[in-house]
C-alpha cells in the first residue's frame, strides 16, 4: 500500500491517541497528513528507540493510549526491543512497524535481507501474541478495530507493509520543530490531558 495513504487512513481513525514517530519518512508522512504539533512527538533519528520512548510514557500514563511508529530500518538495528516490549506488555501501547524494506530516511538505501525479513514471525518468536500484518488498505480498514481500535486493551504489534517513498515524497516537509520546542509543546499537552506535572521544579 502507499505509505501516505496508509497514514491518512490511520489519521482518520485516530481519536485521542498520542503518537510517536521515528525519524524520516514516518515523521514526514504523519506531519503531512495531520499537521499535529501537540499530541505527536516527532522523535529524531534515534536509530530504534521510538517505541521504547513511547513505552516509557505508556508506563507512566496507563490511561493514555500510544501509537508508536518505527521504520523497519530502525527495527533491524535493535529487534531485541521486542523482548522489552513483550516483558512490559503495556495494554495502552501499539507498536506500528512501517515496513518499506529500505532505509527510507536515507534515500531508500538497501536494507540487509530486505525482502525476506518476516517481521510478524520475529514478533511472534518473542512471545508477542497480538501481531497483525497489513499490506493493503482494504484489510487494514476491515481489521482496524480488532487490531488497534479504541476498545483494544492489550499490547499490539502491527506491521504495515508499504511502498517506499517516491522521489517526490522524499521531499515532503519535515516536521519543523527544534527539540526543546517539541518537548514543551507535547509535554504541556500531556500535562493538561493527564493532569500531571512533567516540568515542575521539584527541588
Amino acid at each position: 500500500m502507499k505509505y501516505v495513504d496508509c497514514f491518512k487512513y490511520l489519521a482518520s481513525r485516530r481519536t485521542d491517541e498520542l503518537v510517536i514517530t521515528s525519524a524520516g519518512n514516518s515523521g514526514q508522512a504523519w506531519w503531512t497528513t495531520t499537521r499535529d504539533s501537540d499530541k505527536t512527538f516527532y522523535l529524531d533519528a534515534s536509530m530504534s528507540l521510538s517505541t521504547l520512548f513511547a513505552s516509557g510514557m505508556a508506563c507512566a500514563l496507563p490511561k493514555q493510549k500510544f501509537w508508536a511508529f518505527m521504520g523497519d530500518g530502525a527495527f533491524c538495528m535493535n529487534p531485541g526491543m521486542l523482548m522489552v516490549e513483550r516483558q512490559l506488555k503495556l495494554p495502552n501501547m501499539v507498536h506500528l512497524l512501517v515496513s518499506n524494506r529500505a532505509y527510507g530516511a536515507t534515500s531508500n538505501a538497501s536494507l540487509p535481507n530486505g525482502m525476506e525479513n518476516d517481521y510478524g514471525a520475529i514478533a511472534r518468536s518473542f512471545g508477542i501474541e497480538r501481531v497483525f500484518v497489513f499490506d493493503n488498505l482494504e484489510d487494514l480498514a476491515r481489521d482496524f478495530d480488532k487490531a488497534m481500535g479504541r476498545n483494544v486493551d492489550a499490547y499490539t504489534f502491527v506491521v504495515l507493509e508499504v511502498e517506499p517513498f517516491t522521489d517526490a515524497e522524499q521531499r515532503l516537509e519535515q516536521p519543523p520543530f527544534d527539540g526543546p520546542e517539541l518537548k514543551y509543546r507535547f509535554g504541556r499537552t500531556l500535562e493538561q490531558m493527564a493532569g500531571i506535572d512533567i516540568f515542575g521544579y521539584r527541588i
Binding site: 528507540l49 507512566a60 527539540g179
Partner: protein, 173 residues
C-alpha cells in the same frame, strides 16, 4: 587476581542507593548487568517502590527513561561502564537534542581497584568520553557520599540533560 566481595557491605550499599533513588522520586529503573552492581539490581528488583525493567541493550534504557520522563515519571538507568560507552549517540540525540533529564548510574570500570584487564579501554577512555560530551558526572567511592545520588538526580532536572553517577569497586564490593 580475585574479585572478592563483601556480601553484607554490598547489600548495605545497595539498600542505601535504592533509598536515595526512592527518596528522589525515581519510580522506573532500567538496567543491564555488571558484576559490580548485581546486588544493587537485585535490591531494586525486589523493591516495590520501583518498576524494574531489565532491557536488552543500554540504548534501550535511554529511550525508556526518556519516555518515562515525558510521562511525568522519575526514572534512572543503571548499567556498567562498557554499556554506557555504547549509549553516546542515543543520549546525545535524545537527551541533548530535546533537553530531557536522565540520571545514569554506571560502574567506574578500569579505574584503580578494577582487577580486570578487559576494562583497560574503560580506564583509558571512559572519563575522557564523558568530558568530551560535557556530561556532568560525579564519582562515589564511599558510602558516606551516597546521598549525592539524590542531588545528581535533581541536578539533571535542573540542567535538563543527563547527569552521571559513577560507582567504584571500593564502594560496591
Amino acid at each position: 587476581m580475585s574479585d572478592s566481595t563483601n556480601p553484607s557491605k554490598s547489600r548495605d550499599v545497595a539498600i542505601r542507593i535504592a533509598d536515595q533513588l526512592g527518596e528522589a522520586g525515581v519510580k522506573l529503573v532500567a538496567s543491564l548487568p555488571d558484576n559490580w552492581i548485581s546486588e544493587l539490581i537485585r535490591e531494586i528488583d525486589g523493591d516495590a517502590r520501583f518498576r524494574h525493567v531489565p532491557v536488552n541493550r543500554e540504548e534501550s534504557a535511554i529511550g525508556l527513561c526518556a519516555g518515562a520522563y515525558m510521562g511525568g515519571m522519575g526514572s534512572a538507568a543503571l548499567m556498567g561502564a562498557s554499556g554506557f560507552m555504547t549509549t553516546i549517540y542515543a543520549m546525545t540525540k535524545i537527551n541533548y537534542s530535546y533537553e530531557i533529564p536522565l540520571l545514569m548510574l554506571i560502574t567506574l570500570r578500569g579505574a584503580l581497584g578494577d582487577h580486570h584487564k578487559h576494562h583497560v579501554s574503560n580506564g583509558l577512555y571512559l572519563k575522557p568520553v564523558m568530558d568530551a560530551i560535557s556530561v556532568p558526572y560525579l564519582v562515589i567511592d564511599k558510602p558516606a557520599d551516597i546521598p549525592e545520588i539524590g542531588r545528581a538526580y535533581h541536578h539533571s532536572r535542573t540542567y535538563s540533560r543527563p547527569t552521571i553517577v559513577a560507582l567504584t569497586r571500593d564502594l560496591l564490593r
